[in-house]
Amino acid sequence: MAQFFSGMMGSYLVGSFLISMLLFFNRNKLVNYGLTILFMVLQWGLTIYEFDHLNVVDFQYFSPDSLAIIFLVVLSILCVPAIYHSHVYCNSKAEIPRNRGIYFSALVVLFAALSAAYLSNHIAITWIFVELTTLSSSALIYHRRNSRSLEGTWKYIFVCSISITLVFIGILFLSIAVQRTGSTNLFYQGLFNSAAGMNVFWLKLAFLFIFTGFTCKAGLVPMYTAGIDAKDKAPSPAGAIFGSALMNVGFIGIFRFYQVIGPTSIFEWANKIMLITGLLSIFVATVYMLRVKNLKRMFAYSSVEHMGLIMVGLAAGGIGRYAAILHLVLHSFAKPVLFFQMGQVYRIYKSKSIYDIGDYFKYNLSGALVLLFAFFTVTAMPPSGMFVSEFLIFRALFEAKHIWIILFIMLLLTMIIWSFGKNIFKILFIKPIGFNDTDVEKISPFESLSQFILLALVIYLGLFPPAGLVTLINGAVSNLPK
């Protein structure tokens, strides 16, 4: 027990658990505010603590390595606007206290589970917390309590459970492989050390199952499907988290095991799989970007596209790995902007369909500007920061002699930008049909402030990444083979 409270992690988990419980039972708005703020403090406390205890094992199963720190910081930065916008959301709908309580407690659990999953240094522990994220997020998806949201929730849980089962099977295979080497150590470090001696067959199976399982969270082909419905049906602030931090968790699941097999002979094979998956994801994203008329789903598909790019970059190797993680970070800041803004759009038009939305420039100027700049940022047009990471990914591909793949991706990206742009500008400028603007809610520009900040962050981190970030990213990819 002493060792339980030795580090920050234990107290963080307990604390967040308590907070979520309190939130669950509390019915008072102000207390609710206070608790969420308290949680933010806790979250930031953990972040700062782990930040200066880099690579110090905490509570045996958690060790903040560079990658974990990066994602933790990203999460903690996102958690502030997310909670703020959640409050805005609940107030705008005059939410009944019970639902509000459930919503926030689920949100807190989600954050806690995400942080833990980032930090965990044991494959099974990661797995547990990932499972936990599924459960908490399904509560968020179901928040609206209508048949559609129920359907979304159902599909999300179902597909996630299957995929998490796949991951578990993968772990079992892995354990078989581990036993071959005579150890029973499932810590990433231990796996990494003993990986070279493992049976290739089992390792391959393990990687395949774990990868496939985690694609569900990471939003990649083949299991991206349920995530789309989730992001669509969840309230916008939750959707923002799904579109960023939750995908990071999937990525971290894949990436850690990817690191493990780094020294083995199947590394190339794994790269091939990831490359193909990435390309397929971009392709699927293109297919649906050209089709969807529901804004949130469109944003979700664009996330799929970006994850695909990231996978491609990772598989390309070289500078591509750095670029992939940078791209992931930037995407985690850029995508929430769109979802947050979507909340405002929904409040004005009471719809997510392109057909009902239009002339947003007239009804909410600041919001329109956010959408405009976010579009330029997310589609990685220079000087958006994501352009830099994309540039580097392409460069990695070029150096890996994948010219045709570059051209293919460029073609798809162009089509994506085309349809994305068409819809965005339709929203901003074209008059909607049958929309009476008699009682349009006036939205204060202040609500868009957080989004502007995030966008600025994307540009800043992309163009002038601080040395700290660079070293962290390099540390994260350091123990991959050259």
């Binding site: 559609r148 359907e151 599909k155 299957i162 089962t165 099977i169 029973t184 049976n199 419905d229």
Partner: protein, 209 residues
Amino acid sequence: MTVILLAIFAVTLIYLGVANRLSSYISVLAVQGVILFGVAFIELIEINWVNLVFILLETIVFKTIAIPYFLKYIIERNKITRDSEPFLPDFISIVIVTAIIIASFLLSNAIEDPHLGKIFFVASLSALFTGLYIIVTRRKIITHVMGFLVIENGVFVLSLAVGNEMPMLVNIGILLDIFASVFLLGIFANKIGDIMKEQDVEQLSNLKD
């Protein structure tokens, strides 16, 4: 002994393939629970007793009693018709399930691994794929849940195979069981029944592009 149990387990899978009443699915699940109890008892006899008791409880109480009862309750509560409406005729299903079992048998023969009882591997793989097969070919959501449970059983068998070295994995597997199935069924029991009457997949396939 284990071999016999697992063989019976495989037979139950085949029966699942042809069973066309939900009630029979439920009973099959219960039977599987019992079998798993047996296997677990034999396999894990030498690990520490706390774990053992926990596992046995899980198998016998949870898998054999709680879940089947729960399923029955749901079916009655939501007035689900007792027929499991498959897309494919039973004959084809049985052929396929058999094929699955044979395939996994061949596959596991292809592996030579002293640590691993092949029979476990066969049983688990066939359970896994049969479960997936059921999910894909049955129309009702409740049958999806059942398919999922079958998969869980398969995973449980697999975890038993490695269990005596790493009991922790077995526990985690159980955790998965409890979490996921409780959650799925929970939603099912409370919400879906309230909000929508027909449990067809068609009903739950509005979110699409």
